[in-house]
C-alpha cells in the first residue's frame, strides 16, 4: 500500500508503544490470577490496583470508585441497567438524549421492553441537549439521567456540568421530600484523555470510559461509580471488583489502561492542540473549495479533532470508497454505510434532512496526523465530490434541501 492517512481516531486509535510495553510483562511473565493468594499472583493484584489509582487520578475520583469493564459498551450497559434494576422500586423512568451512542440508546430501548419508561431529549442544531426539555421531562418516577459528554459523530461537548448542578438542586429537595434521588451517568468515551475531566465538577454519579479511544488497548474500559450509588451487577460469578463485576481481571488490558491514563494526564494539552490546528485547517479549506457543504457540530464546544460535514447531492459511502482508494480512512453517517441502512440518528436529531445526512463525512484527527496528510485530503476531496456530483440526479432545492431533478437543464 502506498500512502495511508488515518482520519478515524474517534473510531479507534493505535495503542501507544509505551502502553504495549507496559502490558507485555503481564501476558506470560507476571501472569498470576490477582485473586490467588501466593506472592506471585499478588504482583498482578498490585499492578491492577496501581492502574486503578491512575484511573482515579485522571477522573479525580477515588480508586474504590473505579470498576474495570471490557470497554465502553459494557460500562454503559452496566451503568444504565444496573441503576434501573437496583432502583426500580423507587421509579421506572429514565431520561437520555436522542444523540447518544448506540450502547446507550439500544440499552434504553431494551429497558423499555422490560417495562421501564424512557424519554429521549432533543438537541439544538449544534447538537447541544435542550436543558428546558430535560428539566420538564423529570417526573417523580425518574431514577436516572444519562447524557453523553461529547458526541462521537459531530464532536459536540454537552453541558454536563450544568446538568449536574440542576440535578444537585433537585436531589436536595427530593431527599427532604422523601423522594428517590436521580442518578446521573455520562458516557465519556470520547472525552477521557482528550479534555480534562473531574467527576466532582461534572457532578456525575457514573461515568463510562474506554481505553482504545485514547491510545490504549481495545477490550478494556471502566465505569466510575460514585460511593453509595445503588447499582446492580451485570455479571455474576466470583467476588471480583468488590463484587461489582465478576470475572478474572484482564490484567494486561487493565495495566495498559492505567498506563494510557498516566500518559494522557501528562500529554493531554499537547494532544488537544495539534489535532485542533489541523482540523481547523481542513475545515477552512473544505468550505473554501467545495460549495454546498455544511459543517455539523458546535463551532466552539467541539472535540478538537472532530470534523463532520455534509456534502450535498452526494452519498457518503461513495465518497469514502474514493477516499479509501487514495489511502484515506474516514467515516460517514450515511444510511448506506450503517448496518441498519438508516441515516445517522445524530444528524437527523440536528434537523438535517435524510438526503443531506446521506452525504455526511466524518474526519477525526489524532496524534499522528501531519499537515501533509491534511493537504492531501484537501487536494483529493474536491475532485471526488465533483465527479460524484456529476453523477447525481439531485440539485439544489428550496430551504437548503435537495431537489430531485430529471428535467432538462
Amino acid at each position: 500500500m502506498g500512502r495511508f492517512i488515518y482520519l478515524d481516531y474517534n473510531a479507534t486509535t493505535s495503542t501507544d508503544e509505551r502502553v504495549v510495553e507496559a502490558m507485555k510483562l503481564y501476558f506470560n511473565k507476571l501472569y498470576g490470577n490477582p485473586s490467588s493468594i501466593y506472592k506471585f499472583a499478588q504482583e498482578a493484584r498490585e499492578a491492577v490496583e496501581a492502574a486503578r489509582s491512575k484511573l482515579a487520578k485522571i477522573l479525580n475520583a477515588k480508586p474504590e470508585e473505579i470498576v474495570f469493564t471490557s470497554g465502553g459498551t459494557e460500562a454503559d450497559n452496566f451503568a444504565i441497567k444496573g441503576i434501573a434494576y437496583a432502583n426500580k422500586e423507587k421509579g421506572n423512568h429514565i431520561i437520555t438524549s436522542k444523540i447518544e451512542h448506540h450502547a446507550v440508546l439500544n440499552t434504553c430501548k431494551w429497558l423499555e421492553k422490560q417495562g421501564f419508561q424512557v424519554t429521549y431529549i432533543g438537541v439544538n442544531k449544534y447538537g447541544i441537549v435542550d436543558l428546558d426539555e430535560l428539566r420538564n421531562a423529570i417526573t417523580d418516577k425518574t431514577i436516572l439521567i444519562t447524557i453523553m459528554h461529547a458526541n462521537n459523530e459531530i464532536g459536540t461537548i454537552e453541558p454536563i456540568e450544568e446538568i449536574g448542578k440542576i440535578l444537585q438542586e433537585i436531589n436536595k429537595q427530593r431527599i427532604t421530600n422523601n423522594k428517590p434521588r436521580i442518578y446521573f451517568h455520562t458516557d465519556a468515551v470520547q472525552t477521557v484523555g482528550k479534555i480534562p475531566i473531574d467527576v466532582n465538577e461534572l457532578g456525575v454519579d457514573l461515568l463510562s470510559l474506554s481505553g482504545h479511544k485514547f491510545y490504549g488497548p481495545k477490550g478494556v474500559g471502566a465505569l466510575f461509580i460514585r460511593k453509595r450509588t445503588k447499582i446492580n451487577s451485570l455479571l455474576h460469578g466470583g467476588h471480583h471488583e468488590r463484587n461489582r463485576r465478576a470475572g478474572t481481571e484482564n490484567v494486561p488490558g487493565i495495566v495498559g489502561l492505567g498506563k494510557t491514563c498516566e500518559i494522557a494526564m501528562e500529554e493531554q494539552e499537547k494532544e488537544e492542540k495539534k489535532p485542533k490546528a489541523l482540523r481547523d485547517r481542513l475545515e477552512k479549506a473544505i468550505v473554501e473549495k467545495i460549495d454546498d457543504v455544511i459543517i455539523n457540530g458546535h463551532p466552539e464546544k467541539r472535540l478538537a479533532g472532530t470534523l463532520n460535514i455534509c456534502v450535498k447531492y452526494v452519498e457518503g459511502e461513495s465518497m469514502l470508497l474514493n477516499l479509501d482508494l487514495e489511502g484515506i480512512a474516514a467515516s460517514s453517517g450515511s444510511a448506506c454505510t450503517s448496518g441498519t441502512l438508516e441515516p445517522s440518528h445524530v444528524l437527523l436529531a440536528l434537523g438535517i434532512p435524510p438526503e443531506v445526512a446521506h452525504g455526511s463525512l466524518r474526519f477525526s484527527l489524532g496524534r499522528n496526523n501531519t499537515e501533509e496528510d491534511i493537504d492531501h485530503v484537501i487536494e483529493v476531496l474536491p475532485p471526488i465530490v465533483k465527479k460524484l456530483r456529476a453523477m447525481s440526479p439531485f440539485r439544489k432545492g428550496r430551504e437548503g434541501g435537495l431537489r430531485w431533478d430529471t428535467q432538462k437543464r
Binding site: E315, S318, L321, A335, C336, L341, P343, E355, P393, T406
Partner: protein
C-alpha cells in the same frame, strides 16, 4: 468494503453516466430501504434501446449496478430488457455483499420505469395519430 473487483471497476469508471435530452423514456427509482435514488434515460428505435444513460445518488453498489445495467440493456429489445432482474445485474458484477443486494433493485426498477414511461408516451402518440 467487501466489493468485488468488478464492482469497484464499474464504481470507479461508470459507463453511460449522464442524461439524454429528448429521451424517449425517463425512469426514476428510489430505494425505500436506504433512501437512495437513480434516474434512467433511454432512446428507443424500432423497439431497440439504442442509447441509455443514468444518474445515481447512492453507495458504491448502487453506482456499479447502475453502470452495469446500462451496459446490459444497451442494444437490447424492450422485451429482452424487461427480463433483466437485479440478480442478473448482481451476477454480472460477480456478486454483491448480502447487505448490498437491495441496491441492485434500483437498477432493475430504474430500467422498468424508463420502459414504462416510454410505453406510455408511445400510447399517447398513437392516440394523437388516431
Amino acid at each position: 468494503m467487501g466489493y468485488s473487483e468488478k464492482v469497484m471497476e464499474h464504481f470507479m469508471h461508470p459507463r453511460n453516466v449522464g442524461r439524454i435530452e429528448n429521451a424517449d423514456g425517463v425512469g426514476r427509482a428510489g430505494n425505500p430501504i436506504c433512501g437512495d435514488i437513480m434516474a434512467i434515460y433511454i432512446k428507443v428505435k424500432d423497439d431497440v434501446i439504442t442509447d441509455i444513460k443514468f444518474e445515481t445518488f447512492g453507495c458504491g453498489a448502487a453506482i456499479a449496478t447502475s453502470s452495469m445495467v446500462t451496459e446490459l440493456v444497451k442494444g437490447k429489445t424492450i422485451e429482452e430488457a424487461l427480463k433483466i432482474t437485479n440478480r442478473t445485474v448482481a451476477n454480472a458484477l460477480d456478486g454483491l455483499p448480502p447487505i448490498k443486494m437491495h441496491c441492485s433493485l434500483l437498477a432493475e426498477d430504474g430500467v422498468k420505469a424508463a420502459i414504462g414511461d416510454y410505453k406510455k408516451k408511445q400510447e399517447l402518440k398513437n392516440k394523437v395519430k388516431l
